[in-house]
């Protein structure tokens, strides 16, 4: 056989060279696989990836200053913001021209709000100035420098103009800087004042707490999954109900339940006091702190750990353990060297699920977390729904996404993503 193939190609049954035939069938198989994936891929791309991408794009998009004050931005090009002097009359004239148009289009307050994210007071500066400026005529009332300073003394402060110039770029790194407790200034990126630094701390706390919660879920989930997988079907199914019930119960109900359980006058404290284990004036502080958050979130996420572990453990034949023991392994060795390695895919799938879900939570930390329990998502929600600073929210979201992807990648390197089983 080998002699034959040395010089010429093998021929398949239909008379084509085998290589070509194989390549063709491979191609066909690829196409078939892609056809199967295509509907979902297109669905997710259109309804999710694309919209989310454009949302995250807001973290760098910053055309509002250029669009609203086009002439001012051009005029400010020649001004040196580090000189400490006010810009010249040309800038003031350009600004008033832009501003009058902006007021007509009712856009002046929007740019005020945009700049107010950077320095407090800009919002009312723009709002108040508009009342006077809109009565001016760009030609007859010139020069404007002193007039504008008369309207509000802040216009006589070079810092005001510096802010406008610094944030007049079309694509800004400002939101990302804000997201890591820094700010974009005339002198480049600088740290925020110390008493406003919070976001990095929250990122670290979010990741740390999520890891602890994942760890707790592994600790508590493993024995339960083991016993479910090793009991006879009859009893295992009944116990499974105990796992599924919390899973079916609304997140909001479970969070409220933990509040009822943990609070100072709550069920746990009342019971302990009634049993005499804790005196009435030394009730345990177990809510509105990290303990409360970890307890409640571990409880909420535990089923996401147990179910994948259980389905993996079900496939591990119990005879392996017995075989190991009969070959002389101690209980511990048999478990650690034989059983545990086979259950790793389940732990992996469960951990990924729990960690990713935990890192994005905010309703539970908000309710039981007190001051220690705030996660980064709480801030994202605040900036989306209260401060309307969507650029910052998008930057925070993008960083969070990056953190998850990096961890996912690290997990893939260490454990291998194909080694994950969830069903």
């Amino acid at each position: 056989m080998t002699d034959q193939t040395a010089g010429q190609d093998m021929i398949a049954a239909d008379g084509m060279p085998l290589k070509k035939s194989l390549a063709k069938s491979l191609q066909r198989e690829k196409m078939r696989a892609l056809m199967l994936i295509a509907p979902l891929l297109i669905f997710v791309l259109i309804t999710f990836i694309f919209p989310i991408g454009s949302m995250l794009f807001r973290s760098v998009e910053n055309s509002i200053v250029q669009d609203t004050l086009p002439k001012t931005v051009v005029a400010l090009q020649d001004w040196d913001e580090l000189s400490g002097e006010l810009p010249d009359e040309a800038v003031f004239t350009a600004f008033v021209e832009d501003f009058i148009i902006a007021v007509e289009n009712k856009e002046h307050t929007r740019i005020g709000s945009r700049l107010n994210y950077e320095v407090s007071g800009m919002s009312s500066l723009f709002r108040k100035s508009a009342r006077k400026v809109k009565k001016w005529d760009p030609v007859q009332d010139a020069p404007f420098r002193d007039k504008l300073i008369d309207v509000d003394k802040d216009w006589g402060d070079p810092a005001t103009w510096s802010i406008i110039k610094t944030h007049s770029v079309k694509y800004t790194n400002g939101y990302f800087l804000n997201a890591i407790d820094m700010q974009r200034t005339a002198e480049g990126a600088q740290a925020q004042p110390e008493d406003k630094q919070i976001l990095i701390k929250l990122f670290i706390r979010t990741v740390k707490m999520s890891l602890i919660i994942t760890g707790m879920c592994i600790l508590l989930g493993y024995p339960v999954a083991w016993i479910l997988a090793n009991l006879p079907n009859r009893s295992a199914n009944m116990l499974m109900i105990l796992v599924l019930l919390p899973f079916w119960t609304s997140l909001l109900v479970r969070t409220s339940a933990w509040k009822v359980m943990l609070q100072n006058q709550g069920v746990i404290n009342d019971t302990l006091v009634w049993l005499g284990l804790v005196s009435n004036d030394a009730r345990l502080e177990i809510i509105n702190n990290q303990f409360g958050t970890i307890t409640a979130m571990t409880h909420i996420l535990l089923p996401f750990m147990i179910l994948p572990m259980y389905s993996v453990m079900q496939t591990i034949p119990p005879s392996y353990l017995r075989a190991a023991k009969s070959l002389g392994a101690t209980n511990w060795t048999a478990f650690w060297r034989v059983y545990f390695p086979q259950s790793i895919p389940g732990i992996g799938a469960g951990s990924i699920l729990v960690f990713i879900l935990a890192i994005g939570y905010y309703i539970t930390p908000e309710i039981v977390g007190g001051t220690d329990g705030v996660f980064i998502s709480n801030r994202i929600a605040y900036h989306i729904s209260s401060s309307l600073n969507w650029g910052l929210a998008a930057a925070l979201g993008a960083i969070l996404l990056a953190v998850v992807l990096v961890l996912y990648w690290a997990y893939d390197k260490i454990v291998g993503i194909d080694n994950v089983k969830l069903g």
Binding site: T109, R110, S120, S124, R205, S385
Partner: protein, 363 residues
């Protein structure tokens, strides 16, 4: 199959419903007892009068973000939205709410006083039509505060005489003002002090003295629950919530009417409505904010009507049959020492101070 059937059935039903009620409008509010009071006082009489079907959407908490998204997408589905005054200002600044001229577009008082005078100072934004005056104030457990019930807001900061937990809202607004007041700042100077970084630090330092005894709340329903549980001995919340705890739920709780912070809640009309919908929204607003209607709302909830001319018309509670006037935050007995929320200030400083406040909380 069954689900498809159900869906088809619902669709068929809604198609039919849509054909009959051509005139409908979506009004957004807060839900709960508050929406109910609006339903009784405004929606039902308005529907009876005009035949317009009113759809209630309880999305006010998400209104700012959702209005912005709707506006950018060019598809505003809401006709009238109930928001607090601070949000109304933000919406107005962002160009998301329509400007309204009080004198031409709102009903005058029965004696002919133009609406702008009848509402007076309460018209804090060009886009905002105030509806109620509410106040954020403290309630305390009568059985847990000892023999001398608190009479001043500074009891909150007095751990010696009133030991125990207290609940405060998890945001700087109101808390910073109370802290400065109790740190010896005169009422009229509070916002001047708060404008400076030193003043902000001073307020936080005062709050720091009770930080370990504070339970922070974020939803309006939290403090009533905490008080009912005896989890806190006093806590800040909206006066209407306290009214319900005291009068409807009969809990051992009493109201502390001191340095209560007046705030407003009212209507805005989203910008970018079609002419037809805009007219309908304006017509509704004209009806719903007239003197009698505002007074009617007080029958169902203990918030004060925003018009001066409505105050004398406030009657009895619809179900409990008690006189509502003494429970209004605007009642002279309750309003001996009040504090008016400074909208301009918070519009400028909210984000800045909030960042500081959160950083302080996390410390």
């Amino acid at each position: 199959m069954k689900f498809t059937k159900t869906l088809l059935a619902t669709t068929a039903l809604t198609v039919a419903a849509g054909a009959v009620a051509a005139q409908e409008m979506t009004i957004v509010s807060w839900g709960g007892a508050y929406s109910k009071s609006q339903l009784k006082a405004y929606h039902e009489p308005y529907s009876a009068k005009t035949g317009v079907t009113i759809i209630n959407d309880d999305s006010s908490a998400e209104a700012v973000a959702k209005l912005r998204a709707m506006n950018e997408a060019g598809n505003v589905t809401w006709d009238v939205v109930d928001v607090v005054a601070a949000d109304a200002m933000r919406l107005c600044d962002e160009g998301l709410a329509m400007e309204i001229d009080a004198d031409t577009q709102l009903a005058p008082a029965p004696d002919g006083t133009p609406a702008s005078e009848d509402f007076g100072d309460l018209l804090v934004s060009d886009c905002f039509i105030p509806q109620i005056v509410y106040s954020t104030t403290f309630g305390y457990r009568t059985d847990l505060v000892g023999d001398t019930p608190p009479t001043s807001v500074c009891a909150v900061f007095d751990l010696e005489n009133y030991p125990g937990k207290r609940s405060l809202e998890k945001r700087p607004i109101n808390n910073m003002e109370w802290a400065l007041l109790c740190d010896g700042v005169a009422k009229e100077d509070v916002y001047d002090v708060l404008e400076t970084p030193e003043g902000q630090d001073r307020a936080l330092a005062k709050l720091d003295t009770i930080k370990d005894s504070v339970v922070w709340w974020s939803a309006g329903a939290d403090t009533p629950q905490l008080l009912a549980d005896g989890e806190v001995i006093m806590g800040s919340t909206y006066n209407g919530r306290l009214f319900s705890v005291i009068e409807e739920q009969k809990q051992p709780v009493a109201m502390l009417w001191d340095a209560q912070v007046f705030d407003l809640d009212g209507w805005i009309i989203p910008a970018g409505l079609s002419e037809e919908r805009k007219q309908r929204a304006l017509d509704y607003i004209y009806f719903a904010t007239d003197t009698q209607r505002l007074a009617d709302q007080a029958k169902y909830i203990s918030y004060g009507p925003a018009r001066a001319s409505s105050a004398p018309l406030v009657g009895k509670h619809e179900e409990l049959g008690i006189d509502m006037a003494p429970h209004m935050p605007t009642d002279p007995n309750n309003a001996k020492n009040t504090f008016l929320y400074n909208y301009e200030f918070w519009a400028d400083y909210r984000d800045d101070i909030d960042a500081k406040f959160q950083a302080w909380l996390a410390k």
